[in-house]
Symmetry: D2
Subunit: 162 residues, 4 copies
């Protein structure tokens, strides 16, 4: 029960999107983006998601705190090609004492075709890779909308945490 109380509902409405232009070096001999690159595009989107909340991905979680990847899951839906402009959208779906879960979608901007989607789970760790609590102030920010430019309204009753 206690641990469940820390889970925030998974319908967080605050997604952020960024674009990735497919470089030639990410294609493979089948003429399409090699699937292992999508996990990197997820990271491109996630770093941008942090930036849009004013949190520096590397150090902003607090002194010497980092996010270590614990798990990831990818679905490859359709092939992307060199020079495609992809839209990577990121949403936080779970925020616990030491972990965060993100959901991702990647679509091609030109035709809206879904290219890939998936999720990643991260744990907050110290420089020595020991599990650490996410600072409450950071948690507040992470669950919220983009800072200083978001057009998405803050939900009336943002999120019950107890």
């Amino acid at each position: 029960m206690k641990s469940m109380a820390l889970i925030i509902s998974t319908d967080n409405p605050h997604s952020s999107c960024t674009t990735v232009r497919v470089p030639f070096y990410d294609t493979d001999a089948l003429g399409v983006v090699h699937h292992a690159n999508y996990l990197r595009y997820f990271e491109d989107g996630r770093v941008d998601w942090f930036r849009k909340r004013g949190v520096a991905y590397g150090s902003g979680l607090g002194a010497s705190l980092h996010l270590a990847a614990v798990e990831s899951h990818e679905h490859y839906r359709s092939a992307a090609h060199f020079d495609d402009l992809l839209v990577v959208c990121v949403r936080i779906t779970e925020l616990q004492r030491i972990s965060l879960r993100f959901a991702y979608t990647i679509e091609r901007q030109a035709d809206g075709v879904r290219i890939a989607d998936g999720e990643t789970l991260h744990a907050c760790v110290s420089d020595a890779f020991r599990l650490k609590r996410l600072p409450p102030a950071v948690r507040e920010v992470l669950w919220g909308p983009e800072q200083g430019g978001s057009i998405q309204p803050e939900p009336a009753e943002p999120h019950a945490r107890s």
Copy 2:
């Protein structure tokens, strides 16, 4: 029911292992292997797994047949470092008419610590990325042990395919 009949039991005993030496360029600023590389190590293991069954990964499935990644799932268990020698073991766990599923484990050779594990699902496709049946002859080989050097005995009653 029919589709279930095509699933072969998931306890295929024939795994193959290869080693990967962690290159410096796969580490990140936290001093460890960046997690997105493990999906590539899975592929290193899978290609070697095919080679050990006499099947060229690229073209050997039959004329103009390829394996497209459909889904992948990774658990990152412990950090690996530059120059670690990793043992990547691969096992086929599902073999259907058009798809194959592989399970992977990655352990550090020096101390046996589990670094990562996961699975990938692939579909057999043509040059034009249309779904194609896996040739029966290839299926036979893929479900079996390494060719020409394996010491693992062929199971007495291998696996019903009909």
Copy 3:
């Protein structure tokens, strides 16, 4: 002599710049961008350079023509870090019958520090990797300024090609 006549003066004034945000996965265990990535940032800049001249890098050189890398040279001047915004500027410095040479500079936007520079030489090839002449119409465009938005004036006496 004849071959020299094909070399266009190396002081082509038409450079184009693009930005690259350093991803975390491009850093290494020394905490800086691994040097092998700069060659990819050069390509990011070069592809953008082609786009700004209305030439699709992949196929726009003409039917089934491609640019194969022949040679590259990089100087690593200063370390870049995760999340740095880098400005990659590209200039064509040589345009021969079948080859092109590009010069690159990479600077950090925040402080103007030179991070890296270098050059690459490419040859025009067919699908079968046979050397092919660059189509004259493409050569014209490649030597010129950005299309449809460049503020750089066309030089009065553009460039003698004979």
Copy 4:
């Protein structure tokens, strides 16, 4: 003059070779190894070269000493393909107070075709990226042959260092 005295002749006979199996994810949409990967294969060879001299590439130069890449130069001679087994040979060609230069060749094992060659220049730096002298003991080892298994004879009059 003084600085020249530190240059050791470039005809160091002690090369070391390692093999690299081309992974599918290193190919590009032209069906060949993307050229930016060869710089990584150079590093694979260089790390192995250090290992064969009993020097851990990361830390073995002495406490908190590292090798930062200063310059690199690559010639791409012929295309390599997925699953090719490449032989990467490395030789040290210059050893100064703070810098080392390496020469590389990459050939395909099956037919001996030269795929690429080039060189890299590295400087010895501290954790804070300040230039440091290479420890004399390390210099001795680096200029010599492989340890404990080399069949190459030590040259009669190895190399004057003063």
